[in-house]
Symmetry: C2
Subunit: 504 residues, 2 copies
């Protein structure tokens, strides 16, 4: 069977000519990944940093065609949206190259043999080593930065693992073009065959997760699909780590004082944040707590949403679910429709929707994540109502609060509540536009993610590493980074952290 | 219903007078833990280091009665075994106190706002924060160091979390005495009520794992019980991390050259390692690959095992399973019995058993973990046979190799194979006697553990922490450790690792 692709702007489906990957092909692709792992695990950090930079250069060389392909498959704007996303993919690869050159990510520890309160202790040395071939399931909404050329691939390769990506059904041609770009640049750099693989079709994706040669799974997508993959992992003879980024409502709170001080700017920011990329960002604020008395910002949301033109959603499923979830919020969550969305003439376009509830009436029925340009406004009279209402909101990737300097102390209880619920707390800003940096954390308690890990930022590399300890090992059998006279990376030696003394 | 306890040396069961914890009591205990968390999470690292040291002092003050209680319930020798284990528990608490004072475990990162290749980036600061109340399921074989007063409790408290321990059915009185000691010392130090809780009975343990107020589970025990707890977690509305240390065969390989150079010492070491604590250590070498031609070491194992007196096993279940597994190894694994074990006159005692197979005939049927003093010797002619046979051995906590200096290069392929299978590779030593230190790793690929984490060593604290990021936060809302002018812990600032400049 061949794979089709659909232009969300027109709704027209065409045949890509790409065949679904057969079971035999999956087995060959994972075997090639396993063979590549035997080579990659022995490569130096400097070599892998060079590989990541070669891949970044390759993506940028193919920028024009990649962006055009993605624009036709996703309906996202070529500029600045997709162009910026490609830049982000390349930036991420280069940042991870820096990180592995620096070497702190290895968490190297040396405990020399010696007397301890427990008697003589043997020499113990520990660091993180690559885990093995990684399956990567990208997201519909980020055809570059969270897909074949995205953060999971960059993390896995940085750690020293090959990747088997599953092409996304919403952007198979972009997946293929990304694979071709990475694979071509990798081969030119000297990466072994099998360093990056790709499979097409749902069955092939499931086979990859079940394959004994696969060591970990990175996934960005729905809670439902995440659970299906978790079930497959549960049936493996040897379960493997699954890193899922699954679902997020991202509550946002604005105080009266903040609105009084900068209401117009907050209206601009909030509208842009929930409608950008047609509201299809995992950090989109899905619910905003606004003071009931501050009617200007409510009016501003209504005015802007009513005037906004429809934007294409990524695919027919999202388009249909958007309408269904909105109806459920009204029927079961008893939300009031302030702005009803309308579809465009062609394809899967949709204009923004605004709903309202009273914070005091908020129930779990009104906190379902709606992928697309939909905002629920929860009107409140005082912040105790907000604190109580937060109990009905599922754990999320982010929470955001807008307040004035003099309010922070009084807001302590609300902020503590928010810290428990999320992986990132945003002050006087917006959750969308996730900075790729050393300290970023893009994760959160279930159902935001199923683990304690991040899929954005340098610590994302950690997902695809495992600790290994060597006891009493001869110098020649230790990785270079754990030898006594090596000082090129930060290490903890006999309990004391030491900086690298040689720069690369 | 009351809880009973059995002396493994006599087999005599007595009533402890302790009632099984009811569902209502479980709910009160987890609620107390949740209340304690609200206090503990706000405590300083210095305060918590003091708490850990107070608990260590308390255990040592109660040493005589704790050791006597454990000796009567476990059949393990009071000296040096249990006395040493109590020292280990206290040492572990003090080492973790040092670690949290040092502060590197927080993984603090500061990315200041600034221009990036992606445009202006917001201020992002990340560190690890306590996860919440932790359920601790201790092991039968370490009534102190892996039980109520063990590494999971030390890790959880160090991180800032309360603990709800489940008393072990094999040593309920030791569990209670440990709890009383910790709880008393904690209260005297000023820890809030609910910092440490305990429940009795299997049903109560299951209720704790299912309780929505519990945030993570630490478990040391069998694969079977581990799977039951994982199933309970799978049915929770919000699944939580489960850190299980489950099963391990711990292969050991000896080369001809090593035997020629120090055969007598290896015979001593191997015999002590598989029979120490009656073979009931999770790192016990369960299978030893020995050169077929080197008959002296085989003879030495047979002679010593035949002459050894029975030692009490921990409980009736282990005693019975030991015999059953040995029979399965002979029947299904086609192992040859070199030394048949014999029971003692009373209780659950058992003398060592030695079996043999040809490495070339090794199948998964002969690699079942037998808890107790049983060693399978796999005879080999050349190391290629060993490398092939390793494929039949389940992933383990450790692997051990004895060889001479000139052999390491030729052994490369075998060593690589071993590195893939385990969490710790021991050179010319023994896997038992796990050093508690900064670099220790006590974990391994499934089924050794179900995660990538360790339950021994300083990095065990990491299990009970989660990352949290603050974006654009006012200084007053940041944890002290993330403020600009704080320099008391190592931090990564704008990508550059910096050491602490103020020592406490």
């Amino acid at each position: 069977m061949t794979i089709t692709t659909t232009d969300p702007a027109s709704g027209i489906t065409t045949d890509t000519g790409i065949e679904e990957t057969t079971d035999d092909q999956v087995a060959r692709i994972t075997a090639a990944a396993a063979a590549a792992f035997e080579h990659l695990r022995g490569t130096s950090r400097v070599w892998r940093a060079g590989l990541l930079r070669a891949l970044a250069d390759g993506l940028e060389a193919d920028r024009t065609s990649l962006v055009a392909t993605a624009a036709a498959e996703t309906g996202l704007a070529a500029t600045p949206r997709l162009d910026g996303e490609l830049t982000r993919s390349a930036f991420q690869l280069r940042l991870f190259a820096e990180a592995i050159e620096e070497g702190g990510y290895l968490e190297a520890v040396i405990d020399h043999a010696g007397d301890t309160p427990m008697g003589p202790g043997p020499d113990i040395r520990r660091m993180l080593v690559p885990i093995g071939p990684v399956a990567v399931f990208g997201a519909s909404n980020f055809p570059f930065a969270f897909s074949v050329a995205g953060g999971d691939t960059a993390s896995a390769l940085a750690a020293g693992n090959p990747v088997v990506a599953k092409a996304h059904s919403s952007h198979p041609l972009t997946s293929k073009a990304s694979f071709d770009s990475l694979n071509g640049a990798g081969a030119a750099y000297g990466a072994p065959a099998g360093t990056i693989g790709i499979v097409y079709g749902q069955r092939a994706g499931a086979r990859v997760v079940a394959d004994p040669l696969i060591a970990a799974v990175g996934f960005t997508g729905s809670l439902g699909t995440g659970r299906i993959l978790l079930d497959i992992i549960g049936e493996r003879e040897r379960p493997i780590p699954f890193y899922g980024e699954l679902s997020s409502l991202n509550p946002l709170i604005v105080t009266s004082a903040a609105l009084a001080a900068r209401g117009a700017a907050i209206a601009d920011g909030l509208f842009a944040s929930f409608t950008g990329s047609a509201g299809q960002l995992c950090t989109k604020p899905g619910i905003a707590f606004l003071p009931r008395a501050a009617t200007e910002i409510l009016d501003a949301m209504v005015t802007r949403a009513s005037a906004a033109a429809p934007q294409p959603l990524l695919n027919e499923r999202i388009h249909q679910a958007f309408g269904e979830i909105r109806e459920r919020l009204i029927e079961e969550g008893r939300a009031e429709s302030l702005v009803a969305p309308h579809s465009g003439d062609d394809g899967f376009s949709m204009s923004p929707a605004v709903l309202a509830v009273d914070a005091a009436d908020l129930t779990e029925a009104v906190t379902e994540e709606a992928f697309g340009p939909l905002l629920v406004i929860a009107r409140y009279d005082d912040l105790d109502e907000v604190k109580a209402a937060l109990k009905a909101i599922p754990h999320s990737l982010t929470a955001t609060i807008h307040a004035e300097e003099h309010e922070w102390e009084a807001l302590g209880p609300v902020l503590s509540e928010l810290e428990d619920m999320v992986g990132r707390l945003v002050f006087n800003g917006y959750p969308t536009g996730v900075r790729v940096s050393w300290g970023q954390h893009h994760g959160g308690p279930w159902p935001a993610t199923n683990t304690l890990h991040t899929s954005v930022g340098v610590t994302a590399i950690r997902r695809f590493l495992r600790p290994l300890a060597w006891q009493g090992a001869p110098e020649t059998r230790l990785p270079e980074e754990l030898r006594d006279d090596f000082t090129g990376i930060p290490r903890r030696v006999d309990g004391v952290l030491r900086l690298a003394t040689l720069l690369k």
